[in-house]
């Protein structure tokens, strides 16, 4: 056998080659990985970070260099996302003495800052190992895991620019940090008990408690306490998820009546006791992003009903920081983990803020002295038809970019401001779309301030200079107004993108469609968005590509009596539907004996119907979301009001899922409204009222509604697609979070042989709108279209 050295001598001529690696390749242990690989293969040369990613220069046998390249692509470090490895012309001479990791060249900006990552198996083993110097240390991390984005204050990403600045590394940590062979080589948040952040537990009065904070916190949680816990992207409120009384108390104190809480469980095995955990669910739970995963309740073991009242699903996540791992190890059961904030306000991240704002809620604070620089809620996903679909994109995903078709690289950078609710902004440049983390609803002043701060932070972190600003057509959105101000200040083009067009464009963009891709037929089912005709839209059938759209069909419009109030009070939509389809008086004449009519009469409905007829604060809208609310109200589900968006529709869906029988869907008609073909729910209402009269089970009615709407929308879409000459149909909009509806429409369309496109990387709800806005605007900006 020949040694490596001998092999090299007898092998082909020694050559020099250079590679450029692009993607998320900095701060993930990429250079040590390259160093190990090159050294193993007997290659000489050097590796360094620069403005575009990682640059590797190698000298050695051609075959070894080929193997190096293949291995790098196949097995990159766990957190790296390699977008491309391209070979460059060799630079200068080929003489290297061994393999060196060189200091970074300037401008590490383009490769971006990584999302936070769940504790890796190695770090976990260390904190559980009594012989390791990080035994039970709540802040262990390495280049394969740990906080990233949430500790960043500015660029470039090194310790001085993070909240770890205050902690000087001890000699041991510094040695790891400096050793290319160590997985903590250049791990910016590297820390140990000797030099890093410390953890403590304090009581409601701010007094630090002695003893092991983890053990004491676990003891108190077992005793029914509600604790505030400082995590990675903000504070959580935690309590025993099995204790009905405690969870109800948390709801009372947080003034959060019914919106489901997430639950942290120690491991997959426990999750599988409470939920039906599929293969993809498991993968999502164990992914480095460690999101909340929405899964069907198992029905075998149950958490307290107050955790997710009226819901068939439960959102579960696994511990993702050493602190969480230690706490849940000590506690041993499921813990409610809900983000700690005032109503409508962003999550609390600061210790003093937590002490004052959570004073009436938390009975103790498990906190530490590593400041959180950036807020990030837990991400929320759900597996649907085998695919992980994003519902809230935040910690673990932001600020990782989404790659669009490579032709987008040619287009000018665009900043998209997003919608009003579930706001995100999107920075699109070089074919990479960077969405901010989920920022919440901009109606709240504190959230809006955080939104503006975050948008400017992202621009700084990415050194991003847009050439155009993209906003929604709704001029009242706070995001639109912020975009208008920015465009005016910087003298940039402002491009207004229709809300539902942006939804469809988000599907195309994340699916990798090229900028000039042919149009698809889009079905958008949504709550409400401004149409280009000044009315409200929300159930749209449009032929759309990135450049534009043609509205081919819709839902028969109904008034929104009381404007935004119609979103919170389902009964208003029942009244509006009856008024729109039959006239309120005629409807009463037919069905006045029904419970829902009696309930409506207690509501001053005559006056509101009259106001709706006269257009007094009752804009017309073709909203799918409000149709669900109306049906829910007719069935007595949250007739009076809801406490979180989609509550009535979610319970309506829950009923539909529990029905066992196959039933005939309610019929929908067709109606021309000002020349636009529309689905007409009037026949559906007649049948539903008949079902109410004969006392049909609500489960059956809910199922008939879902299947009827799915059937009608599918058939309508297929006809329109056929007429438009496309066999691809894209689905988007918040209503598609309804699995029953989405699955049924998907099945109908697939059976008809069309290709169905859906959101997965970004939410189908308004959280994905900014991606669509950015893609549309960049293509329109190229087309030179005037705003």
């Amino acid at each position: 056998m020949l040694t490596h050295r001998e092999l090299r001598k007898v092998g082909r001529e020694r050559r020099s080659r250079a590679f450029r690696i692009e993607g998320l390749v900095q701060g993930v242990g990429f250079r040590p990985h390259v160093w190990r690989l090159a050294t193993e293969l007997g290659l000489e040369g050097r590796v360094l970070n620069d403005g575009q990613g990682v640059l590797v220069e190698l000298a050695g046998a051609d075959a070894a260099i080929d193997e190096f390249r293949a291995s790098l692509l196949q097995n990159p470090p766990p957190l790296a996302r390699v977008h491309s490895v391209s070979e460059l012309a060799p630079r200068g001479g080929s003489y290297f003495a061994g393999f060196r990791i060189e200091g970074s060249a300037k401008g590490e900006v383009a490769t971006g800052i990584l999302p936070d990552a769940a504790t890796c198996p190695e770090c976990l083993a260390e904190i559980r190992n009594p012989n390791n110097r990080r035994h039970r240390y709540a802040f262990a991390n390495c280049t394969h895991c740990g906080p990233r984005f949430t500790i960043v204050e500015s660029i470039p990403y090194d310790r001085q620019n993070t909240t770890m600045r205050a902690f000087a590394m001890c000699p041991d940590c510094a040695a790891e940090y400096g050793d290319p062979a160590d997985r903590r080589f250049h791990a910016q948040p590297n820390a140990c008990p000797a030099c890093g952040p410390t953890l403590w537990l304090e009581d409601a009065g701010g007094v630090r408690l002695s003893g092991d904070p983890i053990a004491e916190a676990a003891r108190r949680l077992r005793g029914g306490a509600i604790l505030a816990i400082k995590g990675i992207g903000g504070f959580h409120l935690a309590c025993d998820a099995l204790n009905e009384e405690t969870v109800s108390a948390l709801r009372g104190r947080k003034r959060r009546e019914a919106k489901p809480f997430g639950v942290m469980m120690p491991d997959i095995a426990m999750a599988a006791r409470y939920c039906r955990v599929g293969v993809a669910d498991r993968q999502a739970l164990e992914s480095t992003a460690a999101p909340l995963v929405l899964m069907e309740k198992s029905g075998r073991e149950c958490v307290a009903e107050a955790v997710a009242p009226g819901q068939t699903e439960l959102a579960v996540l696994l511990p993702y920081s050493p602190l969480h791992c230690l706490l849940i190890d000590a506690y041993g059961g499921p813990l409610v983990m809900t983000s700690a904030n005032e109503t409508g306000a962003p999550q609390v991240i600061d210790n003093d803020e937590a002490r004052s704002l959570l004073a009436g809620i938390a009975e103790g604070f498990l906190m530490h002295d590593r400041p959180i620089a950036q807020r990030a809620d837990d991400s929320l996903v759900r597996v649907q038809r085998g695919c992980v679909r994003m519902l809230r994109r935040a910690r673990g995903h932001a600020p990782a970019p989404i790659r669009l078709h490579e032709d987008f690289r040619e287009l000018d950078p665009v900043l998209a401001m997003g919608p009003e609710l579930k706001a995100t902004a999107c920075l699109l440049r070089d074919g990479l779309a960077t969405l901010t983390q989920h920022l919440g609803d901009l109606e709240d002043a504190r959230t809006f301030v955080e939104y503006e701060r975050t948008v400017s932070l992202y621009c700084r972190l990415l050194d991003f200079v847009p050439t155009a600003i993209s906003v929604d057509m709704h001029r009242g959105y706070h995001s639109t107004q912020a975009g208008e101000r920015l465009a005016a200040e910087r003298d940039l083009r402002l491009i207004r993108v229709q809300h539902h067009h942006a939804h469809i464009a988000s599907v195309l963009a994340e699916g990798g469609a090229q900028p000039d891709a042919p149009p698809v037929l889009g079905i958008v089912m949504d709550g409400f968005g401004a149409g280009d005709d000044g009315s409200g839209w929300g159930c749209e059938f449009m032929l759309a590509d990135f450049r534009g759209y043609r509205r081919l069909g819709s839902l028969r419009p109904a008034p929104l009596p009381g404007g935004a109030k119609a979103m919170r009070e389902p009964w208003r939509n029942l009244l509006a539907q009856l008024e729109a389809c039959f006239g309120w008086e005629a409807a009463q004449a037919h069905w006045s004996g029904l419970d829902c009519f009696q309930a409506l009469r207690k509501k001053n409905s005559d006056l509101l119907a009259e106001a709706a007829r006269k257009g007094v604060n009752a804009p017309l809208a073709s909203s799918a979301g409000r149709l669900f609310d109306a049906v829910a109200a007719a069935l007595g589900i949250h007739f009076e009001g809801i406490t979180f968006e989609g509550q009535a529709a979610m319970e309506l869906e829950g009923l539909a899922r529990s029905a066992l029988d196959k039933v005939t869907g309610y019929p929908f008609g067709r109606l021309d409204v000002a020349g636009l073909p529309c689905l007409d729910p009037a026949p559906m209402w007649e049948c539903l009222m008949q079902d109410l009269i004969v006392g049909t089970a609500r489960e059956i009615m809910a199922t008939r509604f879902h299947s009827g709407l799915a059937e009608a929308a599918s058939r309508f879409a297929l006809e329109l697609a056929d007429g438009a000459g496309t066999d691809r149909i894209a689905l988007s909009g918040g209503v598609f979070q309804n699995r029953t509806l989405a699955d049924a429409i998907h099945a109908n369309l697939t059976a008809a042989g069309v290709e169905v496109l859906e959101n997965a990387k970004v939410p189908c709800n308004d959280g994905g709108v900014s991606l669509g806005q950015s893609a549309v605007a960049s293509v329109r900006a190229l087309a030179g279209e005037q705003p």
């Binding site: 002043a445 935004a564 979103m567 006056l607 509101l608 009259e610």
Partner: protein
């Protein structure tokens, strides 16, 4: 008198209607003036019937304002376009600290408008002016063809005398200043809406149209120096005023929702129709921005006055680079009370 009456039969107030001749500048115009406006406004300046009123010069500083009044319906619970047009101008003068003195009124009347209604409006104006201690000293009448106007439009212009040394305005507002509201909001807008759309609310709502100069005098007497700025909360409601102030003073405002007075009937109507009372027009409410030290004294003085009996401190000016008017809600929310966007679509449905 006899000679004037002789050139034409008297106007048929009961059944007569405005025609184009009433705006021609001819005899019909003069008759309209003499039989409707002059008796209603009766004062020596107007009786001269010249092209201008010649007025004594008041003190060293004048307040001067004009306001067009367009309202449907013309007659509504609590008032009509006549009293509204006087109160509007009196209030615009008063909130500048001025003592209102004289008003001029311009009428644009639609052909076919009933004389009875015009007389009723003129009399209402005259009565309102007398109550306010101002004289309607000059005027003008134009008639436009049918459908070119909506009944009658009235523009009133007023002058008033400003006490020496008084300086009110957005430039005086400082962080920490208190926001005092003179009474319940939303009455006027809801009364108008109810009448216009014929929506019969369970409890009837009357317009709050009222002159505020007396209330302003009481405020200035209570704290001559601590009052920083004042405005009446008309079109656009409380939200418009505070956004204007925030913008001009480069500050924000924090309002406490629970402290903002609103009548149950108005609240019920707003709830049902989904209307935000902060944006609803008032015609007899002012907002005073005051030094915190004198806020209680001013509040007490306002509450002594019939038009300020339900006055309340509703918030304060705060440092805020965004210039937000924030409403701290009873549920712990902090809602941005924006400018009206002009977009009638809801943001979040």
């Amino acid at each position: 008198m006899n000679r004037q009456r002789s050139y034409r039969p008297r106007l048929d107030i009961r059944a007569g209607r405005i025609d184009m001749t009433h705006g021609s500048g001819g005899r019909a115009t003069a008759q309209l003036f003499e039989e409707i406006f002059l008796p209603a406004f009766s004062n020596p300046h107007l009786a001269r019937a010249e092209d201008q009123a010649i007025l004594p010069s008041p003190g060293s500083r004048l307040a001067f304002t004009t306001d067009g009044h367009v309202v449907t319906p013309l007659f509504f619970p609590g008032g009509d376009i006549g009293s509204l047009s006087v109160h509007g101008t009196v209030n615009d003068l008063a909130v500048g600290g001025a003592c209102p003195l004289h008003i001029a009124a311009g009428f644009v009347i639609e052909e076919g408008f009933p004389l009875a209604d015009l007389k009723r409006i003129a009399e209402s104006m005259g009565e309102a002016a007398r109550e306010c201690g101002v004289a309607i000293v000059a005027g003008d009448t134009k008639v436009v063809e049918r459908d070119k106007a909506d009944g009658v439009f009235i523009t009133t212009t007023g002058i008033g005398e400003v006490p020496d040394g008084l300086d009110l305005g957005a430039h005086n507002i400082r962080a920490g200043d208190r926001v005092i509201l003179s009474g319940p909001i939303g009455d006027h807008g809801i009364a108008i809406l109810s009448k216009r759309e014929n929506l019969a609310f369970e409890a009837p709502v009357r317009s709050d149209t009222a002159p505020l100069h007396g209330l302003v005098s009481a405020i200035l007497a209570a704290a001559p120096t601590g009052i920083h700025a004042m405005r009446d909360a008309t079109r656009g409601g409380l939200a418009a005023i505070l956004n204007e102030y925030a913008h001009a003073a480069r500050l924000g405002f924090a309002l406490n929702e629970e402290s903002i007075p609103i009548r149950p009937a108005v609240n019920a109507a707003c709830e049902l129709l989904g209307i935000d009372p902060l944006y609803v027009a008032n015609e007899g409410k002012l907002v005073a921005i005051t030094d915190p030290d004198v806020a209680d004294a001013i509040l007490a003085a306002m509450r002594q006055h019939p038009f300020g009996a339900e006055a309340a401190i509703i918030g304060e000016a705060v440092e805020d680079e965004h210039g937000f008017v924030r409403l701290e809600t009873s549920f712990g929310g902090s809602r941005v009370v924006d400018w009206l966007s002009g977009d009638q679509l809801p943001r979040i449905c």
